[in-house]
Amino acid sequence: MWTDAPAIVLSCPVTLRRHHAAVLPISQLALPQCLLGAEAQLQAFVAAAPAPRLFFAPLPEMFCHARSLAPVWDATGASAAGPAPVHLRFGAVRAVRVMRAARNHVVLAEGRPAPVVTPSRHPFASGAVVPHAVERLFTWDAAALLPTRFGGGAVPATVLPDDMVAADLGGAATRDGLDLVSLRAFSAAAFAAGEVGEDSADLRAAGGAAPFVLVPWNLAHPGSIVPRLVQRLLHVQQAAAPVVRLVLLPFNECGQIGEVDGLVRLIRKHVADAEAGLAGVFVGRVRRLGALPRLRARAPVAWLDVHDPEHDWSTRRLRACGFEPVALPADETLTIHIETGFGLLSFATGMPSLRALRALLEQLPTVARAAVRPRGKAGRARGA
């Protein structure tokens, strides 16, 4: 692929302060987590297409003038006179960026459109268009509904091979690489700064019968039901005798980790016995894939928001990592109105009613038992 390209520059939305050069060899890239979202997709792509010419640019939109492109040429060995490098963008459609003097391609895991209604005139508010200069889309799913080019017209698309979802799995287990902290003890600043680990009083106290369930939280999707799900559960669950402990897995994080603090504030304001409830909900992050067995041992089942635009990719990824993904029922329809940087967005979505939640909890032991049964090589064996 791209045999004439002097370099392939990858990018995805990132928290800028974590990066200390405008372009760096892919071997030097350290992303905050690697289980879900753009970070995982990028890592899987790198594993599937290893090449000495792979680089990462935290802010590709910065390159423009010959003077700013010079570091790209220096780092990659390309030149202004030669063939253009390829820029591969990962992440949400709304966050696609263009790198000047490159062939701009987008790797897209948003396989289903979030049904957004918006009065905003922000050019990219709908999440259904990519910048005009995007030349090609790569999708993980042949059935994915693809965005069009801004100004009209389809963008040529290529479907990526099935096994690419799991291309980076299969390494040895490691002792570290997992962060797990209760909402009560959570600090966005500490979480953003680096390793948090999994040794906390709330975690140690969280023994007993209540199982842990993973809940991926796509921070690039403003219409996520996860904050509402957590609040609903805490409203009905007795903190002293919980029936389930959620482990929120934020992904596609680009400076919005403060949303977790926002959720904590909401819970403190609206939920009775909030502190005890917060102690029983956790925020997790897989920094290294070697930590997957430990996470799997604690929480083999994941509940997924079916309206999340990355639902399909997350499902495939979690299954490949040996988890049992379960689609959250969406029998209670609702519209989420939310002010964002794209203006007011309204998402038609759905979440589990209390009745559906009850049924889900009743099924949990059976699902968890199924999850821990050995599977074929596409399942739990990989990544263990």
């Binding site: 800028l16 200390h20 910065m62 000047r100 905003s120 922000h122 080019r149 940087g341 794209f342 203006g343």
Partner: protein
Amino acid sequence: MVRKPVPDPAAAFARTGATIYFDLSPLHEAHWTGIPVVAAGLAGALLAGLPEQTRFFLGYDLVETDAVADALRRNTGLFLDRAIQQGHAVAGRLPLTRGAGKRVGFFPSVKPLRRAFDIELSVFHDLSTLTLPQMHLPGNVVYHADSMLADLASNDLTVTVSEATRADLIAYLGVDPARVVAAPNGVRWPDWYAAEAANLGGPAGSEPYVLILGTREPRKNILKIFEMLERFPALLEGRRFVFAGKMGWLADLHALPASLEAEVARGRILFTGFVDEVTKYALLRHAEATLYPSIFEGFGLPVLESLSVGTPCVASWSSAIPEAGGAVCEYFDPLDAVDLHRAIMALAARRPPAEACRQHAAGFTWEAALGLILGSLMKEESVLF
């Protein structure tokens, strides 16, 4: 088809019998920084080059040309705004009937009116609200995004202040390249600033200082300077670091680290807050060098302002900044504190002559910017006029 440049665009424009109506929206603020400075520069160039063909308006009111000229002399919109509010400077309403010649609406920023004139052009200063929304307040992003497409759709010509912003409009929004022209900003100081600056000392007595000019907001990337000073504290022994500019938004993203608080207490790091234009000029003149680490700029006017007074600049190479800084700036990777330190040391070792800085800046004038805009309009003369 390559169209030939128009030799004297102002004269060619005058021959069309058209009139330019210039929107004063950015100029009724008291303090002019950023976009108001650009608007004032272009308004001044119009008054100098096409006085008979230029009218000014705010909202639906025409504004007396003398009042605008007075504001440009004073370098503030304070009195202009008051005079308009009180009705002294109002010269009638925007015409509702057809005139003898075409009317050209010239909007130096977001258009408060659209399709009010026969021909319309507006200036896009940057697309950072689109490409870097995380560094702006959501309300500001929405304000710009809300008008962006409507402004483009109603423009006969779109003006950008740099090739970088022009390229962004084409790459992101598919704007027809033939309908967007880059007209780089100019720089000009009132004549009396030099004498005033001679009487104003620097903020640090006779001690050398590095000046960092601009509103403190995340895009300006002053966090990278803090990071560099933490890693290379010796830099603070030879010179002070002076941050001039008002506190902007999202302060938690560019807060001074606790490790540098002692340096503020020692006076090695100074924060002046907002400074008026003449003080800014004096600070620029007396500085050893300026530092401009911005993550993303539509142009980078402070770089040009620094060079125009002969003060060299260490600047980020991001986006449009090298267009403003040319070959006389020392550039660095805005994400790399070590590279920033290298650039400062390189400048100290190879300081460009003040005259070379001034000469570079002299190539950027508001008249040249206006000439490019009018030249582009006149290329379309047969269609537009």
